[in-house]
């Protein structure tokens, strides 16, 4: 379970987060919806301890992750997987080395090379990629393939929590649908707790159990997709209308 309480963060004079509080129960998917520059990624980076709050607490499975440093923080991250907006694949490693990285380095597992390869191939198959990509370099992959490799890398060590930063940005509609299915699959079949950062309204309403709409450093609306859809907040209505008006 993830709990964020009264989270504040500024960079210089720019107050990005202004007292965010939210709760993500185990095995559920929470989507933070908001425009560019609204602080969505900053919020997510606090959840995994990449940023320290000016004020407030982030608890992951009861552990105050915002108070940890060094080795303790590294160990606390073992429950996480994260998909970055730009995929963040290691460009000096092949696909096999990228996806196997958490197995080889991150969890203290002592798996044989054959077992590592088996797990990598299995996770790549889940994102509809075959063994032919194993030896390829990230620079040789398309944007959609890079994102899917990043997704496989995030899932390969069977994390309990997965954070998705703009998982459908820059993808074609078919691949975008595919990523949505992946997120739903991860929750329903594997019981994974997910936090998704997005400005894609359609995708958010498809995958979310609950949605929080971030505006001006605060959550303008929080609730189930129907609750957020009916929120009286003017920004929320304006933001959602960009997609619902087209339906």
């Amino acid at each position: 379970m993830i709990e964020v309480q009264d989270l504040w963060k500024s960079f210089g004079d720019n107050q990005v987060l202004k007292g965010i509080s939210l709760r993500i129960p185990e095995g559920s998917t929470f989507v933070v919806l908001g425009g560019s520059g609204s602080g969505k990624t900053v919020l997510m980076k606090h959840v995994i301890g990449l940023l320290k709050p000016d004020r407030g607490v982030v608890r992951v499975n009861g552990i105050d992750i915002s108070a940890l440093d060094g080795r303790a923080l590294t160990e606390a991250r073992q429950v996480f997987g994260m998909v970055f907006q730009g995929a963040a694949l290691f460009d000096s490693m092949t696909v096999l080395e990228n996806v196997s990285f958490p197995l080889r380095e991150g969890r203290g597992l002592r798996l044989s090379p054959a077992e590592i390869r088996r797990r990598v191939v299995e996770k790549l198959a889940v994102v509809d990629l075959g063994e032919e990509v194993l030896a390829r370099w990230p620079a040789e992959l398309s944007g959609g393939m890079r994102k899917r490799v990043a997704l496989a890398r995030a899932l390969v060590s069977d994390p309990r929590i997965v954070l998705y930063d703009e998982p459908t940005t820059g993808l074609d509609p078919i691949t975008s649908d595919y990523v949505d299915e992946m997120i739903i699959h991860a929750k329903e079949r594997l019981g994974i707790t997910s936090m998704v950062i997005s400005h894609d309204v359609a995708s958010s309403f498809r995958v979310a159990d609950r949605i929080g709409v971030l505006y001006d450093g605060q959550l303008a609306a929080v609730g189930t997709p129907p609750e957020v859809r009916n929120s009286p907040d003017p920004f929320v209505q304006k933001f959602l209308s960009t997609w619902f008006a087209k339906q």
Partner: protein, 237 residues
């Protein structure tokens, strides 16, 4: 940067110890720099041999060229020139690699996979530099002396006997160790500065470029300052 250096030292003693990463960095920093250090050492020795021959000839003391060149190489020229050359080649590459990883979120990604980038990327580079800078300094010493020997004996016509004899007379093991200790210090300083500049890069390609420039400039200045400090420390004023 001091905090960063402290964290690097702390992570160096924590398992897992990634010897494959260390060996890869030793190959990159050491074996990869051997050619440029070897060429620099050979020509530095040749030039210094000729200059010393020109100076010593004034006093009819050409036989001292070998000894004085070996002395200067081992205590000053080899550690300082080696460190400057490796900074230009490997220090800049380290800063650029880590800087690119920083601005493309690869370092963040590594952290989210419960792997400390300091332990995985920085520690092997610092340890490899501390080991390989002295090794490269020895290569510089050997080829520099060989260059001075060739110029002294075959070009300047200095008799081989006095050239070798005065080298034995002048050069003590402590002179070589003096230079090697300096190389250890330079290796640590260059690696910490270069990794720090890459690790703390911000702002895309421009930020990476600035980080690399600062890594090379700061490392070069730090080598000269550390050289003075180490000389004062080892020799006194």
């Amino acid at each position: 940067m001091i905090f960063f250096a402290g964290e690097t030292i702390a992570w160096a003693f924590r398992p897992p110890f990634r010897f494959d990463q260390l060996l890869a960095q030793m190959a990159f920093i050491g074996a990869g720099s051997a050619f440029i250090v070897g060429v620099t050492g050979t020509f530095a020795g040749m030039v210094f041999g000729l200059q010393m021959n020109y100076a010593m000839r004034q006093f009819a003391a050409e036989g001292y060229v070998g000894g004085s060149t070996a002395f200067a190489l081992s205590r000053e020229l080899a550690p300082v020139f080696t460190a400057l050359m490796v900074t230009g080649r490997a220090g800049s590459a380290i800063a650029t690699e880590l800087g690119t990883m920083r601005v493309t979120e690869q370092l963040d990604a590594m952290e989210t996979m419960a792997v400390s980038p300091i332990q995985y990327l920085v520690v092997p580079r610092v340890l490899a530099s501390i080991v390989m800078f002295p090794a490269l300094t020895m290569l510089f010493n050997a080829l520099g002396y060989a260059g001075a020997y060739v110029m002294g004996i075959y070009v300047a016509g200095i008799p081989e006997g006095p050239f070798i004899e005065h080298t034995r007379e002048f050069l003590k093991p402590e002179d070589i160790f003096h230079g090697l200790w300096k190389a250890v210090v330079f290796g640590g300083v260059v690696a910490v500065i270069s990794t720090w500049r890459g690790y703390s890069a911000r702002g895309g390609a421009r930020g990476v470029g600035e980080g690399t420039t600062r890594a090379v400039v700061a490392s070069s200045i730090a080598i000269l300052v550390a050289d003075y400090a180490a000389t004062v420390l080892f020799v006194g004023t």
